[in-house]
């Protein structure tokens, strides 16, 4: 609890069994393994840190160029480069254990079995508080179709992960689908404790001078303020479709952005691309939430979750 102008403001939220001191988290792939930001950000203030996606074996990632800026956003085709689960546990966890914030490990795989094996290896490790399952990855057995675009595959991954861990499991949804509520309901039925959305929207940019794609991988994931309205709409739809907590992601850079997601029904939010250009974005969002609640005469952030008012026509 914090005190502002003589008023106690309670920012605590719950994602199933996972309790956060505030609803502001940092998004996977945009905050490294936290140490990268330790000199610029007070890590101990964050609600939770979601680390870069981890796979069973280290992955080298895609050839460069991997990032390109677009209007109010960026495209990335990092190719899920990461140190692998063993490298993560040996080289990254020690620092994270020293951070007084929740640590959520984002996992990725190319088969349901790989996701399950990862969940097993990350369970029972001191300092890991939850798993976030990135299902926007290609299923190698199904010719590279992303798990997150097929309800049956998403169900299989969620069930497999749940079967291997007693940690809270957040399933991170892909926006590259026709109806995201179908996916949200599928993973809820499969036992997900929460859903987070959205991952990046698939996009593309071309250099007209050379007539070549700007990314070596041709296509990449769009993130940043440009995607916020789409993300907000999807969060609003999903929050009405499921009864598990929803975590909002997509272009969030300011407290006002975060508030929009909370009002639309998100219980917590993740700050992504904004970390790159404003490393203190998450901290200033925490301050801004508190100031907003005080100004609105609310003593708990929980009072505004899903408090969107829509006038009847």
């Amino acid at each position: 609890m914090d005190n502002i102008n003589g008023m106690d403001i309670d920012l605590r939220v719950r994602l199933g069994e996972l309790r956060l001191r505030n609803p502001v988290m940092t998004a996977s792939g945009t905050f490294g393994y936290a140490r990268e930001f330790s000199q610029l950000v007070n890590l101990h203030r964050l609600g939770a840190i979601v680390v870069k996606g981890i796979s069973l074996k280290p992955r080298p990632g895609n050839p460069p160029p991997r990032v390109v800026e677009t209007a109010c956003g960026m495209l990335n085709a990092i190719g899920l480069e990461n140190v692998g689960v063993q490298g993560f546990l040996e080289r990254k966890m020690e620092f994270l254990r020293g951070v007084n914030s929740r640590v959520i490990v984002n996992i990725l795989g190319d088969s349901a079995a790989e996701y399950g094996a990862l969940a097993g290896k990350l369970t029972g490790i001191e300092g890991i508080d939850a798993l976030e399952v990135n299902i926007s990855c290609p299923n190698v057995k199904k010719g590279g179709v992303a798990f997150g675009t097929d309800p049956a595959m998403a169900t299989e991954v969620t069930r497999t992960v749940k079967g291997q861990t007693d940690l809270p499991v957040i399933v991170k949804l892909s926006p590259n689908v026709t109806d995201i509520t179908v996916m949200a309901r599928a993973v809820e039925d499969a036992g997900a404790d929460a859903v987070s959305l959205i991952n990046t929207l698939i996009g593309m940019a071309i250099d007209v001078g050379s007539r070549r794609p700007k990314l070596a991988n041709v296509i990449g994931g769009l993130s940043g303020p440009a995607i916020k309205p789409v993300a907000l709409r999807m969060v609003w739809q999903v929050a009405r479709a499921v009864s598990i907590p929803v975590i909002g992601i997509g272009g969030i850079a300011t407290a006002e952005d975060a508030l929009e997601f909370l009002l639309a029904g998100a219980t917590a939010i993740e700050v992504g691309t904004a970390n790159f250009y404003q490393p203190r974005a998450a901290e200033s969002i925490i301050d801004g939430l508190r100031a907003y609640l005080a100004a609105q005469g609310e003593d708990s952030v929980r009072a505004i979750i899903g408090a969107l008012q829509i006038d009847e026509a």
């Binding site: 990268e36 000199q39 610029l40 080298p60 460069p64 691309t273 790159f276």
Partner: protein, 261 residues
Amino acid sequence: MPEFQEKAPLLQKEAIAPGIFRLTMHAPEIAGAAHPGQFVMVQVDTSMDPLLRRPFSVHQVTSGGNIQILFKVVGQGTARLARLTPGDQLDCIGPLGRGFFLDRRDRLCLIGGGMGIAPLYFLAKRLLQTGESPGDDYVFLGGRSREEISLFAAEFFDLGYTVKVSTDDGSMGHHGFVTDLLGPVLPDMERVYTCGPFPMMRIAAQKCGQAAVFCQVSLETHMACGLGACLGCTLTGADGRYIHVCRQGPVFDAEEVAWTT
């Protein structure tokens, strides 16, 4: 290594040549910690477009906690920077990355092409602090024309270095590649530092490799964060593995880099 985020007031803007500017800003924490070859991530605008910060080498640290950047207008972000006026504030993060190795003092050659000159001036000044006369040390500067390069030639000369220039149009010094200047002096050199276009650094690296002269290069890539978080700034290393320019570099030993790409 310490890193800071500072809102730095712009003190001075110099128009060096058409499209080339030098900014001086007050950033005492960054100035106090900066090492030659390191860079700053500058927020060029607080609107969302352009969104990402832009990387610039620390060109010089001056007394009173000031830093300078030297840049050429190549796109939207640098065009915005060029429109700033003294008194404006620039949000800077730095100093970032691994800079040049400068523990020992050997016979040196600094080779800068285009805006690659920027970090070399800071390096040249710091090397003076080792107390030895730089009269036997060379600075080779390559640019498009006299207009682009003459001021820098004079500044390095004033530090005491032996300066040679090349231009693309022949308007000053050697008409051709700056690396052409290296051949005659290379046998006497113990160390070469270079920053500039990739093909230029490749030639310098190859020549140094053949002559077994230690060579360091400062690389450029697209950077979203400059902090080691996005993993967007990769190039290929000599062993075929990816290197991350913002944290492992931007300065590398020439033999760490795959020059084929």
